[in-house]
Symmetry: C2
Subunit: 453 residues, 2 copies
């Protein structure tokens, strides 16, 4: 049907990048953990326990942001530079791999003509990989540079020239990579800047751009040439806008009078805080208002947004906007009595809907199982466990405060969830895509039905 | 494809029974509420407030079992007889309609040859309905009669002859209809009988048989003649067994040492209590150990079981065992790289999988929305709201204790959820089934794809 399908030689190679990704991530995490254990990494000069170093390294490489010790006060400048390097490697590495994967997948899904950059990757070879990595790096550093300058204008005022620039760079990288690590201190994230438009809008903007995915960024950068957007980009942009604005309105209503969050803010502060509260669960991990002070409804809304997450091929996690949209539109199709899922007058085939279903169900099951484990091993409230598990799976990094208090089993469970949440969905998507080709020719059973509902 | 499809005249009539069901239920609920408001219905002779009477009547007709006042102590014997009548009408009415619906649907889904009783309904006419209703009633009363005799052997010891028989009949009806109403008093459900095998096994058995659905019961009753089971019956029996036994083992482990639930019971008591705790969320509503004393993990497990619920065409609710199985097997198919969902070497077509997906997603969304509403209107913990919303949707009737304390908005929300949970899924299933036929001939859009995962 599509040109790429005929390239039989691709099907085996297609498995490889994911294995490289999974092992590469594990390797970087281990090296990072060992570096963080060194006495020079901690401010007090102690050797950090392995599980805490491993947790921090995993959280950094998987751009999650959950921390068992406070980044700004526990780690030395050396330790912080290790962390931000891990974030940059994790973010870039993942974006490069994810883009590469989607370029490959793109061949099969007729986005081919639309993704400008794709022409460079007709052959999946080393030259192509280097070129792609350089391209992704170029755009990443450009955006992070702009973010760092904007943030520095504020941070220099607060921390002096050198530290201000350092903070600007650190938080810009952390925000664009959707990592959520901060240096503000005391597990406060960026709450001191809740009323500050420069900081919250810059960080919010970096998060949002980092979260829409490289394929979409590339397409938008070349819109003048191509004059039209792919179905994927249209869906991602519209759904992202709906989630951000809809979420902001709900947070505004829910938290308006809550003295623990927005109750005492100015109107401008309330609007900024609502917007930020809506952007951050997908999947940044910064917070400008205290997460544990939120209303139960606000915390629940955060959990739902964390589960949906960002868009494919981005630094963000979750089941992804496009997956959620596909599921939603399939429900609409069934309700309207249509035979196929339709988006913007385009039909989506069964294989893709089944894949979206599988990703959603596996993700949901993972979150449920981890919540279940935490509710056995930890002391606390159910919503704290559900929040933590969803945050780890979505590589979000928000917490209701239980991360530093986790038992060792809890830490390992959360750590593995972050890794699975980062590497897993892509691996699954890729594995599904190639398996389906391999086995599609085998025997078919007779059709039968069972009753549902 | 199937014989029923050719009967064009059926397609319009097929909508009708559901409308009759929805309106009929609403009518019975209203009459029940008015009867319960009467001074003779309450033990103290007061006029019961409309919202509480409506809540109780809805809970009874929708065989849920959530109560705002204690059934055994608040209502007079007259009030209790009104309630058990509502339960019997709700349970029978629903089973009759559901069976009728599935007999009709059965024509389209090739169960035709397998369901013995179906031959009576080649034409959907008044005679057929009466015959079917009599058949359902006959089996129902037989099973309830056996249950009442078994329960009475214990209750006569505790309450004397007359009251013992009355209690036997009341609880047998309530159990088989999966209604969960009890007369034990003090919102205790059957906790005083936690160590009593006669009571817990009889009630557990009635719940399980009531929950597997009439189509399955009928097939099992005629197994000697037919010699083989349909795919639907196989799936329902196996999944029900897995859920009951798997759930029991988990509850046994989780609650073994919990002094608030099973910690102080004998080994026999622990086993009985684990088994009962596993049966009751799907979707009986009785409890033999205190729900609010359970571990967080145990409560969470209960929520998951409540959401899955019973089997189609039964007195139980939830998304149904078969729907959950279809979703699960679709995930397996995707992981295995198969093009189609397969169960016991039978292919399941896309339309059915999409329908299962739609039912699951709509149900899940409903539970989320109600939980969200409760977390705004009520005081309490998140898990209490999630538990209550799932219980109402699944017409289960278990609660962590917040039902009697609900605000009026909360009561109305829960009441509407019980109604939606009872009538909704079937209506949806039927509406989807008929719509799909009506519109399947309309225009097709060109195929396109988006990225998922
Ligand atoms: K993050
Ligand atoms: K019930």
């Amino acid at each position: 049907m599509e040109s790429g399908e005929r390239d039989g030689k691709l099907s085996l190679k297609r498995i490889q990048p994911v294995q490289v990704l999974a092992l590469g991530f594990a390797g970087v995490i281990l090296v990072g953990a060992l570096l963080l254990m060194l006495p020079i990494s901690s401010r007090s000069g102690v050797v950090t326990p392995f599980v805490d170093a491993l947790f921090t390294a995993t959280s950094a490489v998987c751009v999650t942001g959950l921390v068992v010790v406070d980044t700004g006060t526990y780690w030395s400048t050396f330790g912080q530079i290790v962390i931000i390097s891990l974030i940059q490697i994790g973010g870039l590495g993942f974006m490069t791999f994810a883009t590469m994967f989607f370029v490959l997948l793109g061949k099969r899904i007729t986005l081919k003509e639309r993704l400008i950059m794709q022409e460079a990757y007709n052959a999946f070879n080393l030259q192509g990989v280097v070129k792609l990595a350089l391209y992704v790096m170029g755009i990443t550093f450009t955006i992070e540079g702009i973010g760092a300058v904007l943030l520095s204008t504020q941070f220099i005022k607060d921390y002096g020239l050198l530290k201000g620039i350092y903070y600007g760079i650190f938080h810009s990288i952390s925000a664009f990579c959707n990592a959520g690590f901060d240096l503000i201190g005391g597990f406060r994230s960026i709450t001191p800047y809740v009323e500050n438009a420069t900081v919250t809008l810059t960080i919010g903007g970096l998060i949002a751009v980092g979260g829409i995915g490289f394929a979409v960024i590339t397409e938008l950068l070349h819109i003048r040439k191509t004059k039209r957007l792919s179905l994927h980009t249209k869906v991602v942009l519209i759904v992202t806008a709906i989630l951000i604005l809809g979420g902001a309105v709900l947070f505004f209503i829910l938290e308006y009078a809550n003295p623990k969050t927005m109750g005492n803010l100015s109107m401008k502060g309330k609007i900024l805080a609502s917007l930020f509260a809506s952007i951050t669960p997908r999947t940044a991990g910064y917070n400008s208002i205290p997460t544990d002070g939120m209303t139960t409804a606000g915390q629940f809304l955060t959990i739902i947004l964390m589960f949906i997450g960002a868009s494919p091929g981005s630094t963000g996690g979750g089941i992804k906007t496009s997956t959620a949209t596909l599921i939603f539109m399939t429900v609409i199709a069934v309700v309207r009595g249509r035979e196929d899922t339709e988006i913007f007058k385009k039909r989506i085939n069964k294989a893709m809907v089944y894949r979206a279903l599988a990703i959603s169900v596996i993700s949901f099951t993972l979150v449920m199982v981890v919540t279940f484990i935490l509710s056995i091993t930890e002391q606390g409230k159910f919503i704290e466990f559900l929040y933590e598990a969803t945050s780890a799976f979505g590589t979000v990094g928000l917490t209701l405060g239980i991360t530093p208090k986790l038992t060792t089993i809890g830490k390992v469970a959360v750590l593995l969830t972050m890794y699975a949440g980062r590497v897993g969905p892509l691996t699954l998507a890729l594995a599904f895509a190639s398996r389906q080709q391999l086995e599609s020719s085998s025997i078919k059973y007779p059709e039968d039905k069972i009753l549902v509902g």
